[in-house]
């Protein structure tokens, strides 16, 4: 049985179609990443899966229960960590956890043990009696993850679990999530728009504009791209793009303020570039394929373009290499 099973999911807000027919399946024990820019439909999908929003059409089954017909059973079997904090700062960590355990109906003797376990797991056992308002952002997020696990859910939903945290804290949060998966069998459904974070997942779905563009393992996705990304700064970018096409047979476009293109064996390509381009080159960056490139391959834009621009980019520079 799949932990999460979604069929032809559509969500419309008035004229806006936030989710345009999503199908997906997450296996039990899998860590599944939902990767896409802000506004791609990630949060809307998660809200439907957590019974916080109703789908316009389509169906979703989470932990064996239908999200529309068996809301209470779904809620009992999922853990949730939202983008926005949902802790009570006037309560201690312990009191926040107890509140959660009581509302989720965790039997009292078990609750005490679970509180010890989850606090230990996220390294907050020694701060358990402190008011949450004295916690740092990273500690709060850890406490929220601990709370999401308190009632031993079958599926843990993490909606941008590291948003607003500094890189070091972000890495620490992922360590905790990794340790959690070693300690117990749990399915994790995580959304992120940080490319590097998607690499922690077993499988990734790339979502853009309300649709899933592709689903695969991070390695397979990167292999499919096959090319390295080259970004150059030149004296005349427009001329450089023309020259790249005419002299080197490479389609390039402006991304993040640089002339960007993809070629197999990027490092070997650089000497040719200097010899044949005919436009002065100031800087060159060659990057091995990353999930960012995967995103670009399947959506035609970088994740930052997508967030800045809204509309799809006119340049589909890697479209030919799918």
């Amino acid at each position: 049985m799949a932990a999460v099973e979604v069929r032809k999911l559509v969500k419309r807000y008035g004229d806006v179609e936030a989710v345009r027919g999503i199908d997906l399946e997450v296996a039990e024990g899998e860590m599944y990443g939902f990767l896409g820019p802000n506004g791609a439909g990630k949060t809307t999908t998660i809200k439907i899966l957590c019974t916080l929003a109703e789908a316009t059409s389509g169906s979703a089954v989470v932990a064996g229960y239908d999200v529309a017909a068996e809301r209470s059973a779904v809620r009992r079997n999922i853990g949730l960590v939202f983008q926005e904090p949902t802790l009570d700062g006037y309560l201690t960590a312990e009191q926040n956890l107890r509140f959660h355990g009581e509302l989720y109906g965790v039997p009292r003797p078990l609750l005490r043990r679970r509180m010890d376990e989850v606090l230990e797991m996220v390294g907050l056992a020694d701060r358990r009696r402190d008011l949450v308002q004295t916690y740092s952002g990273g500690m709060r997020r850890r406490l929220e993850i601990a709370r999401g696990l308190l009632h031993t859910p079958a599926v843990l939903f993490l909606d941008e679990p590291t948003i607003g945290l500094d890189p070091q804290t972000r890495a620490a949060i992922w360590e905790y999530i990794g340790a959690l998966r070693e300690a117990q069998e749990i399915t994790v459904f995580v959304t992120t728009h940080y490319m590097e974070e998607a690499e922690y997942c077993d499988r990734i779905a790339i979502i853009d504009d309300g649709r899933i563009a592709v689903t695969d393992t991070p390695d397979a996705l990167k292999r499919a791209v096959g090319a390295d990304r080259v970004q150059i700064r030149t004296a005349d970018d427009a001329a450089a793009i023309v020259q790249l096409r005419e002299r080197l047979g490479v389609d390039a476009a402006m991304h993040e303020g640089m002339v960007t293109f993809a070629v197999p064996g990027g490092a070997e390509f650089v000497p040719r570039l200097f010899a044949e381009l005919g436009v002065r080159i100031d800087t060159v960056t060659v990057t091995r394929p990353s999930l960012d490139d995967v995103f670009m391959t399947y959506t035609g834009r970088t994740i930052r373009d997508a967030e800045a621009g809204g509309g799809p980019s006119a340049f589909q520079i890697m479209a030919g290499r799918r």
Partner: protein
């Protein structure tokens, strides 16, 4: 860590009650943290009772047999409790702003459990605050009769529940704290003035008399004052002037029926508050 911990199926009413009790307990925990607010909330009624009450006692004619401050005492009690109660209800707007409302709304419990827990919590907290004021009863000539104290606390609790539920109802619709505060004041103030808390309701013009009878708070304040007068030696004419009985189309409403009206009103507003809340909030 084991993976065999499996939760029992939802426990029906027992589970709902447990959830409501926890929401109630949270209000109590927060109340303990908030000592500064408790002190501030007590100062206002003391001002009313001893400054305004003393000042006005020379102006208001109480027939010479009843101290004006004795008359004022139930009104001031009600006032302090009701304001705290209304604010406790509105605190849901803060809960929404700081995200905790969502933690409550996604839990596998019914909305009624959460709202009832919240309202009972706010009402309990507000009633507990009144204990400090009740301790001063002797200063304004109200006897420390245990029966009277229990009667007053019970009535205050009913009124507090009404006002907390109104606050919750407001916060279901109003999402900004800047708007919720003045709106609640706008509702509480006239309710206060028209309840007989601060001045006797004898000889009011007709239109005002009708409004006082429509005001649910009247049915809290009037029984409180009747309970106090019951324990004092108040002459009939002073009683009639200071605490005239409520009549509906000439029928004198008994105290028990008045209390019933207050309880029913609280229940209705509580139901409205539950109905007004949106799960996806």
């Amino acid at each position: 860590m084991t993976t065999t911990d499996v939760l029992p199926a939802t426990g029906g009413m027992a589970h709902e009650a447990r959830a409501a009790a926890m929401v109630w307990r949270r209000e109590m925990i927060r109340f303990q943290h908030d000592k500064a607010r408790i002190v501030a909330m007590l100062l206002q009624p003391l001002l009313f009772l001893f400054v305004m009450g003393t000042g006005l006692s020379s102006v208001v004619d109480t027939g010479g047999q009843v101290d004006f401050r004795t008359f004022l005492f139930p009104g001031v009690l009600a006032m302090s409790v009701l304001f705290s109660a209304a604010f406790a209800g509105i605190s849901l707007v803060w809960d929404r702003e700081f995200g905790f409302l969502r933690e409550m709304l996604v839990a596998p419990v019914g909305l009624p459990a959460i709202i009832v827990g919240k309202c009972l919590g706010g009402a309990t907290m507000a009633t507990l605050q009144s204990v400090v004021l009740l301790a001063l009863a002797g200063l304004v000539g109200v006897p420390y009769d245990p029966v009277l104290m229990v009667e007053l606390l019970a009535l205050l609790f009913v009124g507090a529940l009404l006002l907390t539920a109104m606050g919750v109802l407001l916060s279901a619709r109003i999402k900004q704290i800047q708007a919720a505060m003045p709106t609640s004041q706008l509702i509480i103030m006239p309710m206060m003035f028209l309840s007989g808390a601060l001045f006797p309701m004898a000889n009011l013009p007709d239109w005002l008399a009708v409004l006082t009878k429509l005001n649910p708070l009247t049915y809290v304040v009037q029984p409180m004052r009747a309970a106090i007068f019951d324990h004092l030696d108040v002459p009939a004419d002073a009683w009639a002037a200071l605490d005239p009985s409520i009549t509906w189309w000439g029928w004198e409403v008994p105290i028990a029926a008045q209390v019933l009206v207050a309880v029913v009103f609280s229940g209705i507003v509580l139901g409205a508050a539950i109905a007004a809340f949106d799960r996806a909030d």
